[in-house]
Point group: C3
Chain length 347, copies 3
């Protein structure tokens, strides 16, 4: 679906999805909002039972993408009936994104003559494209980004201002890298020498597969040998650190400030909440989910949810937390028992 031209009408949106419309097809759609705050001219969505109450605060003239079951005959809004209203909303929302895009190839970029830049790509001022780099079709390199020697950026990528892609990093298609992220920095490999530590040179690379999203201020170290790899469709939030030779499976989700030490492996569909730390050479199985701030120091089987340091299955973790909070009372109970048995006193 291409971008829609706004302002439009409820009827045109319904047509786009071949969807049934209830209400006025001519009501205008000029902006987006949440269902709680939608007013005349706003498009919003409703896809969960628990959010249905918010319809009450939706103003007249709002247009609601929703499932059939949530329609309220007593509220005269305009409804467009869809199976997946949130997904449809997300598609439409793209047309409302702030016009942040850089267009064309700036004369003020520094582009090495040996670099291969697709004619449809865009490059902002003060960007640097080094020797032998390749930039794919429709890709946008924003101002002040650094694309190192031999780097490969696929088609349809967005490389935001101040991103640094160091030598030989390889990005697939439709990869987004947000501002400040650094891919391909040297991993942290030290060898104890006679007069202090010596750094092991890091001669590997970073491979980022298609449709990956890398948030602002992430650091992804190159492999010592071989690759550090971010699997297709994985999404990283801000301030995530991925050590050398980590392997992140497809469709994994890493929330803000997560850190993976060297050679950690996440299988497919792993979810790590904010500030989780994963030790070196640890493997986390397919579909495992790990709660915020957990310190993962042992391998974890897939399919389960974990939490806490020391890491435990979440039910056990929550029970342990309950008892940690209750420790003063637990100790009181022990004191009472001791007293009852032999009058002995403990602090």
């Amino acid at each position: 679906m291409g971008p829609l031209e706004f302002p439009t009408t409820a009827g045109k949106i319904a047509d786009l999805f071949n969807a049934t419309l209830l209400g006025d097809p001519n009501v205008p759609v000029e902006g987006l909002n949440s269902v709680q705050k939608a007013s005349r001219g706003s498009l919003c969505f409703l896809d969960e039972k628990k959010a249905a109450k918010f319809l009450n605060s939706c103003r007249l003239g709002a247009v609601v993408l929703t499932k059939k079951e949530f329609i309220r005959d007593d509220l005269p809004l305009t409804y467009i009936i869809l199976e997946e209203p949130k997904l449809a909303f997300a598609q439409l929302a793209k047309s409302f994104l702030p016009k942040n895009r850089w267009i064309g190839i700036s004369q003020k970029a520094e582009i090495h003559p040996s670099a291969q830049v697709d004619l449809s790509a865009h490059i902002g001022p003060f960007a640097v494209i080094c020797e032998g780099a390749k930039i794919g079709a429709d890709t946008i390199i924003y101002p002040q980004a650094y694309i190192g020697p031999g780097v490969h950026v696929g088609a349809g990528c967005e490389i935001h201002p101040n991103v640094v892609l160091l030598a030989l990093v390889h990005l697939g298609n439709y990869v987004k890298v947000f501002s400040g992220s650094v891919l391909g920095s040297e991993g942290f490999g030290l060898i104890e020498g006679a007069s202090g530590h010596v750094e092991m040179p890091q001669v590997g690379t970073v491979v980022v597969e298609d449709n990956v999203r890398i948030g602002a201020h992430c650091t992804i170290d190159r492999g010592t040998f071989g690759e550090t790899r971010i699997g297709q469709g994985s999404k990283l939030d801000a301030h995530v650190h991925v050590g050398h030779n980590c392997q992140i499976g497809k469709n994994s989700i890493l929330c803000a400030q997560v850190g993976l030490a060297g050679s950690a492996t996440l299988e497919e569909g792993v979810v790590l909440a904010g500030q989780v730390g994963v030790g070196d050479h640890i493997t986390i199985g397919k579909g495992a989910r790990v709660g915020g701030q957990t310190g993962v120091t042992t391998n974890l089987k897939g399919g389960e949810t974990y939490f806490s340091t020391p890491v435990m299955p979440i039910r056990q973790a929550l029970r342990s937390h309950h008892f940690v909070k209750a420790l003063p009372e637990i100790v009181d109970r022990i004191k009472l028992l001791e007293k009852e048995i032999h009058g002995k006193k403990h602090s």
Copy 2:
């Protein structure tokens, strides 16, 4: 108070504050130091009883801003008597800051013709000012900063090298943003689709009110709809992450490496120590203080101090910590009781 010209004398400083001076008004003031290390020509301050002992190591010729009660007749230094010596010192210290300022508008900046830059603003080389951006009076945009389309930067702001302000971000007056920080990056909103996760477009903005300080390497995500807002006078240290739609009240303090997930709310005057994590949609009440590394997964009432994961009022947390450390002995006591009652053995 305008900047003072240095070197100056103790007498001139006393005049500036209409303050009483004890000692030699002609002693020169050429630099700043702590009271422990102040020597001839140094200005220092003393404002706490526990620091009073440091006067002993203060050298002859030093000038001390202090309260009346701390003056020592046996130490022949020059004293300037003030109610708030530390605050006065901070005001004077500004004149000693390293000359780091960029002056004038560089020919090597890229400024879109539609941008409105105040004639008194300063813009360094390789800075990019995009379409429709506004830069207020006396504001300094340091080299290599990126000011996106439609961004508004108020008066008297400092935008340090390599800062990225993305489309439509709005900064009030006297806002400082330190190097590497990224404001307005897309929030982390994912929708599970048939073939992996789809990103919810983020069409909101970021609003930063007057007198806010944002440390190096912070990331402040734009709202999904509506605003992410940093209240007036709030101070953020380095590496702080603020998720989409967070609302930070006035005069809050966020120490280094704090992370707030989406839609968290801090009321006025909240203090979060280093590495604290706050879950999504959590509210922390007015004036609450939260100790380092705490994981906040429930709403917290204002006015109290909290600590630990799971989060507890600090007294309870410290008691629990005490007992966590003592667990081996506690289990020994249980074993003893078991033995005394029925000789039963547990590991």
Copy 3:
């Protein structure tokens, strides 16, 4: 040892180290790999007993740097016998590093006429070298780096793309600073005033001694007065925060996402694992090692290993963790005792 020209042969490498060679000296060496994955043309190393089994998967034609004791007569590879095979490998590996270096002084850098740049230094496009800065021999300033007023960068340093060195920061020789790091930003010193917090101006500096390595996205704040100092040979991984006036001893190791609050002191050879937090004014003694995510809120004696929050010697921490996980069973045991004594029931 200068860089080797590749491809070379096993014999030439043995000659370089005056080492004994077993096998074919004419076997070519074209690349590097781990011992598990080495094939014909690859150089690898083996220096630990536990890795010796990997020799089985090493392909014919591989060249192995190793100690005498690990040689396998039944595996017809080419062996070069060395005392420190890993160290030798690291030296050789430098010749294989991706050609990431910027050569020469770009016409598109902005260099203040008063800056002193050694004739053998390299400076990339869109770098800014401010008033009074000094750049030593053979140092590389990559594109888009910012070298503030009065900054001193010694000889043989690497300052990667997008690094920011603010006013008066002083770097010794052979210092590497990876992309995005910010040295000399203002520390987080706040004074409570009548109408909100006022920032204490930070007039000190940052001193980085020889052979220090600072990873991507670190922030090292300048001293309030005096210096923040990183001792000789210390190595910092990515996302490390060092507060104002911290003193880091020689040969210390700080892993990713570590945070030090203001005025923390690490003596010589301290090792902090990932995500450790250290409180303000804390001292950690010589050679102490601290496990991942530990929150250090008290001074720690040198020579020991610590872990957990609250921080404990590691043995005690692991025992406490064991019992925290077992708390539900421990409480069951107390319930049983209570029942046996007086039939009383607790939840």
